[in-house]
Amino acid sequence: MSQVTVLVPNYNGAAYLRECLESIRAQTFEDWEVVVGDNASTDASLSIVAALAERRIRTVRRPRTIGWVANVNLLMAEASTPYIAILHADDWWEPAFLETTVSMLQAAPRSLVATGAGRIVRTGRAAELTGLFQAWAVSQGSTCPAGEVARLLTPRNLIPSATVLTRAELYRRFPRYEPALSLLGDWLMWLRAGGVADFEVTNQVLANYRVHAANQSAFAEANNLWAMDVLRVGLILRAEWAGTASPYPGAARAIAASIANDLIERAALRLERGDQATARRLARLAWAMAPSAGQRTLARIGELGIRLFGGGPLARLREPLSGMARRVKPAVQRSLM
């Protein structure tokens, strides 16, 4: 049996799938197997896999396209190795990914997750880095302790799925990605896991995560589905983290505050694009989620601002005002969290 199973969910990813699979074959650590979960693709995906003629890569096929979360949850049953990674068909690894993350987990038996830096690749824009290292200085040591992980990830998801190697044990404790979360299932997974397990962190760039206009994240942003997933994460964790299961003091409140902040930010973005109606709806939902009187007031002021400056003669003041709001926001947020 090999050490690592790489699960590759794919739906019509023919344009990127070869690069993804080649990046696995180029790993300096060679004791892996790949299971491609083809979600009833209608493009050349299957022939691309076949053309590689790689005995360590096999394919399972869904008879009809289902959500990517369900595809991943079914793929999990294919892994019987001590370590599992999930690499989406449009993402790819640096050659050292597996060698680095496997040795980190081997050195830290209590950690369930190892994660590095991920390069976010957008067409027409300079690549940015993201990773847990941005919140956890690796100079303190590579092990970010349970509880602290959840706290650091509460404001936003810093961990792209492509940067993660997990112990199979993780998915025995949290057997599935939340079926209803089409966009933020991984954030919820890391938040839950980070409440009870240590994470190994490196700032080495190990993975590349592609964001392109055609992908589901862009569609979801346009349709507010992202905001709906954010709300769902907030409600699930607020309930799970209430009382004794709190991963760090005040966690239930902090996640609600984070969700409210996120919605306020989305409202501001909508307003800047001139979509006043959506901005108002999001500001109201932020108000409903906000755990403190201060944050509720902020949401109310935001909504009032949208009504006053969203359209009509005062619309000219919109940009200077939202710019000002953005400058004071970090300070205000700190005081409210």
């Binding site: 079926p179 589905l225 709300l231 989620m289």
Partner: protein, 327 residues
């Protein structure tokens, strides 16, 4: 073969005998069944085997992935003109398939045929739900598309076991896997927006409600709210730029959802779950479009604040009853 019956199963040993028997007792015989076991850990498979149901195919998920996801996989198996989805805990009267297939045979333009459903609650009296409550079937069974949409906007009167669909519908749409509690409502709305609906007032399906599903009360019910909010967002896009099937459809749907949330808040107050009720009332206030609803959610919110005082606890039930009567 004319009808494929899809049945998602997850730990349904206690109910399956009843639902499978109701299939075998159909007066209409031209059907096959595809069961999708979603990783059951109880005796479900043994019960299915013992049933001896003919023309049965069993598919098994290697992991538990959710009921909508399971049905979507099963949809790949459909090779008939009609599809029914029967959940493990629901069951049919013997005349169900005969009635609904006849309705769709007669009216090729309709995508759905819907009967009345008996809603069975363990501790409350049975209720009957159906489109016939808003559409009189005396002059004919075909409910025009705009009428059907209008009936589906304020609430979801259609219970899943009471539906037979033309398989075309499911070639076009899967159940929305992000909406575990509302994806059937969304499906019926989409179907009604596309075509007329055949309606029968006969009670031919039974829908089982559970106390157990309320156990995780706080979590579940507030997530139902998220499902409904998300459904509105999905339809807002689909129905944008003049594609609304009836005038102000999104507005009416929002009003309907606000009512659902307020009703749930009332139930929570009665059950003593004031924190849960408060969350609901906040969401209701956040999305309320009518003055009446805003006032009610604000009043409810204030009332919950008062009811938190220990002295007031005994007033909970009379106050929510008063609220419901005024409403």
């Amino acid at each position: 073969m004319s009808v494929t019956i899809l049945m998602p199963v997850y730990n349904g040993a206690a109910f399956l005998a009843r639902s499978l028997k109701s299939i075998s007792e159909q007066t209409y015989g031209d059907w096959r069944v595809v069961i999708g076991d979603d990783g059951s850990t109880d005796d479900s498979l043994a019960v299915i085997e013992r049933s001896g149901l003919p023309r049965l195919t069993l598919r098994r998920n290697a992991r538990n992935i959710g009921w909508a996801q399971t049905v979507n996989l099963l949809l790949a198996e459909v090779d008939t003109a009609y599809v029914a989805v029967l959940h493990q805990d629901d069951w049919w009267e013997p005349g169900f398939l005969a009635t609904v297939t006849a309705l769709l045979d007669r009216t090729p333009a309709s995508l759905l045929a819907v009967t009345a459903a008996r809603v069975v609650h363990p501790s409350r009296p049975d209720a009957v739900w159906g489109l016939h409550q808003g559409f009189s079937v005396e002059k004919g069974s075909t409910c025009p598309s705009p009428v059907a949409v209008s009936l589906l906007l304020p609430t979801d009167p259609i219970r899943c076991p009471a539906v037979l669909a033309r398989s075309e519908l499911y070639r076009r749409y899967s159940f929305d896997e992000s909406l575990p509690y509302a994806c059937d409502w969304l499906m019926w709305l989409r179907a009604a927006a596309m075509a007329s609906v055949e309606v029968s007032a006969e009670v031919l399906a039974n829908f089982q409600l559970h106390e157990a599903s309320q156990t995780a009360g706080f979590i579940r019910a507030n997530l139902t709210t998220i499902d409904m909010l998300r459904m509105v967002e999905v339809l807002r896009t689909e129905w944008a730029d003049g594609r609304e099937p009836v005038k102000d459809a999104i507005g009416k749907l929002t009003v309907g959802i606000t009512n659902e949330i307020l009703a749930d808040a009332g139930l929570k107050i009665e059950a003593g779950d004031l924190a849960g009720a408060e969350v609901q009332l906040r969401f209701a206030r956040a999305i309320a479009l009518s003055v009446r609803q805003s006032v009610l959610s604000l009043a409810g919110h204030r009332a919950v604040g008062l009811l938190r005082l220990p002295l007031m606890a005994s007033l909970r039930t009379p106050i929510t009853q008063l609220g419901r009567r005024l409403w």
